[in-house]
């Protein structure tokens, strides 16, 4: 537990000593801000629904940029050898890095609370879906971070890690829309259940259903477990 805390602290700090964190957060806020406010006054509704509708697709390419360096950089410069020969287990390294990525996603989302507060000043904002939206965003961010971490453990090349995790995150996000068009009704339900966007939108409506939480926890567990297997395989 102590080791997880030390790895977490080191990784979280590492985000903010390089310019990457500031660039990623700025790009995220510009995109989300623009997508949200471009139709906000036309809709004439005090709601953050639009912000959360577009969040999965934004996360699908922002989060891989956050996680791509976590293992790739270490494997590439060789510092993973030093880290791994210290008395710390693979699981502790993986969980520490994962939590740092989730905390970074939290830090990235935090400024968007300003949108909620300013919307509340303009009209009668229903806080249920807003809280649900943020809760869903953290779960979605955590699931994508776990996928990004797994992709990062696969390769020493950060660009390759970015592309692999972006491809998986995009597939999970867009799966719902694709299956509705192309597949017969009888199997749509199955693919819908695999879609991260479907579960996120459920939570973002303000209804916290255990099935949706279970979905995200399963994705996180599978991706982190996969990361462990990949790192073990490298030995």
């Amino acid at each position: 537990m102590e080791n997880i805390k030390h790895i977490f602290k080191k990784e979280y700090k590492a985000y903010f000593v390089s310019p990457i964190a500031y660039i990623v957060i700025s790009v995220f806020l510009i995109i989300v801000g623009w997508l949200f406010f471009s139709t906000f006054f036309l809709d004439r509704q005090a709601s953050l629904t639009r912000l959360f509708t577009l969040l999965p697709i934004t996360f699908a390419f922002i989060i891989p940029a956050v996680t791509m360096r976590l293992f790739s950089e270490e494997i590439n410069i060789g510092s993973y050898e030093l880290l791994h020969t210290l008395p710390v287990s693979n699981q502790e390294i993986i969980i520490g890095k994962f939590l740092a990525a989730v905390a970074f996603v939290g830090a990235m989302l935090a400024p968007t609370i300003v949108y909620a507060v300013s919307t509340a000043f303009l009209g009668d904002l229903d806080w249920g879906p807003v809280i649900g939206g943020y809760l869903g965003a953290i779960f979605l961010g955590a699931a994508f971070s776990a996928i990004g971490l797994m992709a990062s453990s696969l390769t020493r090349n950060q660009v390759v890690a970015f592309i692999i995790s972006m491809a998986i995150c995009f597939s999970l996000t867009l799966m719902m829309d694709f299956v509705l068009f192309f597949l017969p009704n009888s199997i749509v339900g199955f693919f819908q259940y695999l879609s991260a966007n479907y579960h996120f939108q459920n939570i973002a409506k303000g209804m916290v259903d255990s099935r949706d939480i279970l979905y995200f926890l399963s994705v996180i567990f599978l991706a982190l477990y996969g990361t462990g297997l990949i790192l073990q395989e490298k030995k």
């Binding site: 102590e2 080191k10 410069i77 060789g78 030093l82 020969t85 210290l86």
Partner: protein, 238 residues
């Protein structure tokens, strides 16, 4: 203290270490020598838990590396070749991080960090980032990393490689100072260094042990005074 038994490691079809057996006694300075690609680094990586052996095992006292890896890791300080470090971190932050992972007591941590900074002459660079450091300083940070938490066993993979003569002398001096109370396994391509420092040498070539003795015994056995010629004979350099 360390028992390496039938250690074998394959990378795909390539056999990097082939049924290697040797022992390292407590308090001994052992030189693991051999040409590039002989399998030295692979042995270190298995000993420090970075790689798993294909077959065979390593025991540190009664602990088998396959079962008590964490316990063994706590007892070993490791300096890989060219000490790959986190470039963006301050030297102090890096050593503090290593101290935390090595479980150095919080109360003693600062005193321990300062002691290591003194020993490795790092005081003037403690608040610089690692990518600002020269190769010599990076190597010293690597040595401080290996010494963190005062481990009983030190594994140093070519600690003087790529350093200038002054830095080599300084690094050798550090090893000599710490070697009095620790068990050390190290490798080097500077044979005079091995002659000056090691109690015993194990020479490996193409993954197999070709000699395991004191340098004096090897001289007698091969009837040759120059250690360089002995080394070349044993490793098919001639």
């Amino acid at each position: 203290m360390i028992n390496i038994e039938n250690l074998t490691k394959y990378y795909g079809d390539l056999c990097a270490v082939d049924h290697v057996n040797f022992k390292i006694k407590k308090g001994e300075i052992l030189g693991l020598l051999g040409p590039n690609g002989a399998g030295k680094t692979t042995i270190y990586r298995i000993l420090t838990g970075y790689l798993s052996p294909t077959s065979g095992t390593i025991k540190v006292e009664n602990d088998n590396i396959n079962e008590h890896l964490m316990k063994i890791k706590k007892r070993i300080g490791y300096l890989p070749e060219e000490a790959p470090l986190y470039h963006e971190m301050l030297v102090y932050d890096y050593l503090d991080f290593v101290a935390d992972l090595r479980g150095v007591n919080k109360i003693n941590k600062n005193a321990h960090l300062h002691k290591l900074a003194d020993l490795c002459s790092l005081n003037e660079v403690m608040h610089k980032t690692i990518n600002e450091l020269s190769k010599g300083y990076r190597q010293r940070v690597g040595i401080a990393h290996a010494l963190m938490g005062n481990p009983e066993i030190l594994v140093l993979d070519e600690p003087t490689a790529g350093l200038d003569p002054n830095q080599i002398a300084e690094t050798r001096e550090i090893i000599r100072r710490i070697g009095k109370e620790k068990t050390i396994v190290f490798s080097t391509h500077i044979l005079s260094e091995a002659e000056a420092t090691c109690d015993r040498v194990v020479i490996i070539d193409e993954g197999k042990i070709v000699a395991d003795d004191t340098i004096d015994a090897l001289r007698k056995e091969l009837n040759e005074q120059s250690f360089e010629i002995i080394f070349r004979k044993l490793t098919k350099g001639n």
